[in-house]
């Protein structure tokens, strides 16, 4: 049976740990996810929520919404913000980490982590907001 958990957090960094806690606790309920998958889920959700918080104007009162859909074989998480959006296909390319010039940039690792930690990651963005959909399979049966 499919189940869903929905959560809204203020667009504040000190609520990131709350989002991590709720999503991982919900994913732990029926023991379908191993420890490594839960760790990956925790960090991927955190990165998506951090991006969502950063996307909101500083004076925004809009919430970040997080919806988890538990399927038989996987968990889908969608993180939605009401920021101004961005073009996910036109993110500035930074030098590889082995290039000394990469040290000039402290940002730019979030999307890399999201894509590495999940089985599927999809970003839909418009001027009225961004939705990041993450899929993590319960076991190593999902597409890679």
């Amino acid at each position: 049976m499919n189940r869903a958990v929905e959560l809204e957090i203020p667009a504040r960094t000190d609520f990131l740990s709350v989002a991590r806690l709720v999503v991982v606790a919900a994913a732990s309920v029926d023991a379908a996810f191993g420890e490594e998958r839960l760790d990956n889920l925790r960090l991927a959700v955190s990165e998506a929520c951090a991006n969502a918080i950063n996307a909101q104007p500083a004076d925004s009162t809009a919430a970040i919404s997080i919806r988890c859909d538990f399927m038989e074989d996987r968990l889908e998480v969608e993180v939605v913000d009401r920021g101004p959006g961005f073009d996910p296909d036109n993110v500035p390319q930074l030098p590889p980490v082995t290039d000394p010039r990469r040290l000039e940039h402290e940002s730019g690792l979030g999307l890399t982590l999201i894509r590495s930690l999940t089985d599927e990651a999809e970003i839909r963005s418009s001027p009225s907001g961004t939705a990041v959909r993450l899929v993590v399979y319960a076991a190593d049966v999902g597409p890679r």
Binding site: S17, N54, L103, E104, S107, L109, G110, S116
Partner: protein
Amino acid sequence: MRGHDELIFGLDTSAAANWTVVRARGELDLATSPRLRSALVDAVGVAPRDLVIDLSSVDLIDSTGLGVLLGALRRARQAGSRLVLAGMRGQVVDVFALTGLDAIFDITADVEDVVALEAGTA
């Protein structure tokens, strides 16, 4: 009563042999990374000159935390100081491998490895 950041993240700085040891504990994320950045900015370029960051009690590091470490490495190189990451475990090790950052940082298993070696050769 401690604030939220202090509940999920802690920092302390000490000196051992020729090293400044910055020990982080808990979850290093967008909320808590500014405190580590501030401590590392303060630590680079002052005596003891070289810097070891103890990550043995860090349970989670996100891209912001990684960025703070990249910035510290840049500042250390500019100051002519060594910077070593010690004690990484669990998913922190995986995150360094996934991002390729394990190739550019000097990484050791234990703070004591660095400090003891230095003390023994002094």
